[in-house]
């Protein structure tokens, strides 16, 4: 085998980058950065400036950003979203990993059935449950409650989390558990002290996915959180655009939107290496 590879290496030298790679890269880059550019471009304007959205404004106007920054809406949205994200992530990751550990280590008909049921749940469209969920949440007084929303979105994300974790736990050898058991560790202790540290990489990925999923959630907050004091950041941005119907104050809405997107984009750019690697790892399982 090794000789073969050596032979191939001799015959075929590593291919050099070709010229057309660069124009294609540039095209893709522009295609994907354009919406952000347009959004920023529209936000640095005065209300009366209805000139081209494609070219930079003649007069830069930063007052929208100052207004959004000094206003209370953006901060309210950040605060509520942050609460929901933290609660959702903790519930979803801890319960999901624990259940996945249980499923991966117990073989037999019950665990097989549970895994299949879990796969089936992943196919249920959220909207199909809308009537059932909403009337249930109202009856339990969980509407207009951030914790209620967190429970709901953690439940929605759990099947996917369990599915991914199960694939990763299976790859951890049983002998680790056995060694821990001989040393007298219980199941829960084994899970937190032995298994979880082995799952660091997938846990980071899962935290990021769960957090962005719940940060970006629009459907359930829109229906469940009717009071403005409970609005998430997505609802705040939506409200900003709605007030600007008929271009009343579009630049201000764009500034709200740009600032609202800022945390997630900064986090993405800082963590992109882990996010993309995590996505690569979880899709090859």
């Amino acid at each position: 085998m090794k000789d073969n590879e050596k032979l191939i290496m001799q015959i075929k030298p590593a291919s050099r980058p070709k010229f057309w790679y660069y124009p294609v890269s540039l095209f893709l880059f522009i295609l994907y950065i354009l919406p952000i550019y347009i959004l920023l471009n529209m936000s640095f304007r005065n209300i009366t400036d209805i000139s081209s959205r494609l070219f930079l404004p003649k007069e830069w106007d930063f007052s929208n950003y100052i207004a959004v920054f000094l206003g209370s809406d953006l901060w309210l949205g950040f605060k509520n979203s942050a609460i929901v994200v933290v609660e959702t992530v903790i519930i979803q990751i801890v319960l999901g990993a624990l259940a996945a550990y249980g499923l991966a280590r117990s073989s037999g008909r019950i665990s097989e059935t549970l895994r299949k049921v879990n796969m089936g749940i992943m196919m249920i469209p959220g909207l199909a449950l809308l009537v059932g969920t909403y009337s249930l949440m109202v009856r339990m007084n969980l509407d207009n409650s951030l914790f209620g929303l967190s429970l709901l979105s953690a439940a929605g994300g759990l099947p996917g989390t369990i599915f991914l974790y199960t694939n990763f736990v299976v790859a951890i050898p049983d002998s680790l558990d056995e060694a821990a058991a001989i040393d007298g560790a219980g199941v829960i202790r084994t899970f937190f002290k032995i298994i979880m540290p082995q799952l660091k990489a997938i846990t980071v990925t899962q935290i990021i996915f769960a957090a962005t999923g719940s940060w970006n959630n629009y459907l359930m907050p829109m229906y469940l959180l009717q009071k403005k004091s409970k609005f998430t950041i997505i609802q705040i941005i939506k409200a900003a655009f709605n007030q600007s119907n008929g271009n009343a104050n579009l630049p201000l809405a764009c500034a709200t939107c740009a600032l609202g997107l800022l945390p997630i984009i900064v986090l993405y750019l800082l963590l992109q290496k882990y996010i993309i690697q995590g996505q690569l790892d979880s899709s090859s399982k």
Binding site: M1, E5, I8, K12, A14, S15, P17, Y21, S25, L28, F29, Y32, P35, I38, L39, M42, I91, L98, Y101, G102, L103, R105, S106, S111, L114, G120, M122, M123, I124, P125, G126, L127, L129, L130, V131, G132, Y134, S135, L151, L152, A155, L158, P159, I162, D174, A181, V187, F191, Y218, L219, I237, K238, C257, I264, I265, I276, Q279, L280, D281, S284
Partner: protein
């Protein structure tokens, strides 16, 4: 260790409680409500047997939304897989700036579909929209992008595919990296050209990745909701609504909760009836190596 089997199963209980509470009970609740006429809040519900389901078949709006949902599902699945595959093949090559392109292609996935639709709305606006402005630069006059339902549906499909293409790309990149280099080198030694190598070596070995990408995108497309709300609001004249969107307007605007749950049951059935066979068919095609 056998004694621990049931202890292990007990670990699933907390997650199971949450899933039963927030998914199973609502599902049963919705399935039950689909047999009633109910406005969503009053005390009196009237049992009407399967009338909600039979009504759907003669409801023009339902058929329109069903066709739209199928276009959203299959259209964005096809577009994302094709573009994602080409993007992955392209980014699998080594060149400077490759990582930057990958980072930018994946970025829209981090942004809420609702917000993305809102931004894209300003691209397709008739008056001063970005795309019309680009056309004007080339001397072409303004195009009315949202002229009818079909153009709106196609544009929404494109925007959704553009936004989530990066996911397919990553799935295929992972698949490509799992293919041992020696297979392709062997084909090359045998004198295969690039096209032959791709069709007969790369593609068959990519089928596990294709299965994942196709199934997730089909389900995602059938569920589409957020981006439609912000891009077209279901318009023009409700012609770009998906079944999901129809359910929400039926429930919250028309106050027909029973009928809305019936459509929800139909949507769930649709997803299962389409994705399970597709999944099974693709799995059969997987080759061992």
């Amino acid at each position: 260790m056998k004694k621990r089997k049931y202890t292990y199963l007990c670990l699933t209980i907390p997650a199971a409680i949450l899933i039963i509470w927030f998914i199973f009970i609502p599902l049963l609740n919705a399935a039950n409500l689909s047999f009633f006429r109910w406005n969503g809040y009053s005390q009196n519900k009237k049992w009407i047997n399967i009338e909600n389901f039979t009504k759907a078949f003669s409801d023009k709006m339902f058929w329109r939304c069903l066709v739209n949902t199928l276009i959203y599902g299959f259209g964005s699945c096809a577009l994302q897989n094709l573009c994602g595959l080409f993007a992955a093949l392209f980014l699998n090559k080594k060149f400077m700036g490759r990582n930057a392109v990958r980072v930018v292609l994946y970025m829209p996935i981090m942004i809420s579909a609702f917000i993305m639709g809102q931004i894209m709305y300003y691209f397709f606006q008739f008056d001063g929209g970005v795309f019309n402005e680009v056309l004007n630069l080339f001397g072409v006059s303004d195009v009315y992008w949202m002229k009818n339902g079909w153009t709106a549906v196609i544009l929404i499909t494109f925007v959704n595919s553009w936004q989530y293409m990066g996911l397919c790309m990553i799935i295929y990149l992972a698949g490509l990296q799992n293919i041992p280099a020696m297979y392709r080198e062997a084909a090359r030694l045998d004198g295969a050209n690039k096209f032959y190598e791709f069709i007969h070596i790369t593609l068959p070995l990519l089928i596990p990745a294709i299965t994942t990408a196709v199934v997730t995108n089909l389900i995602g497309g059938f569920k589409m909701f957020d981006v439609i709300v912000s891009m077209t609001g279901g318009g023009p004249s409700k012609q770009s609504m998906s079944l999901s969107y129809y359910i929400s307007t039926l429930y919250f605007t028309d106050e027909r909760a029973g009928y809305a749950s019936a459509i929800g049951v139909i949507l769930f059935a649709l997803i299962i009836v389409i994705t399970l066979p597709v999944n099974a068919w693709l799995r059969k095609k997987e080759v061992e190596y």
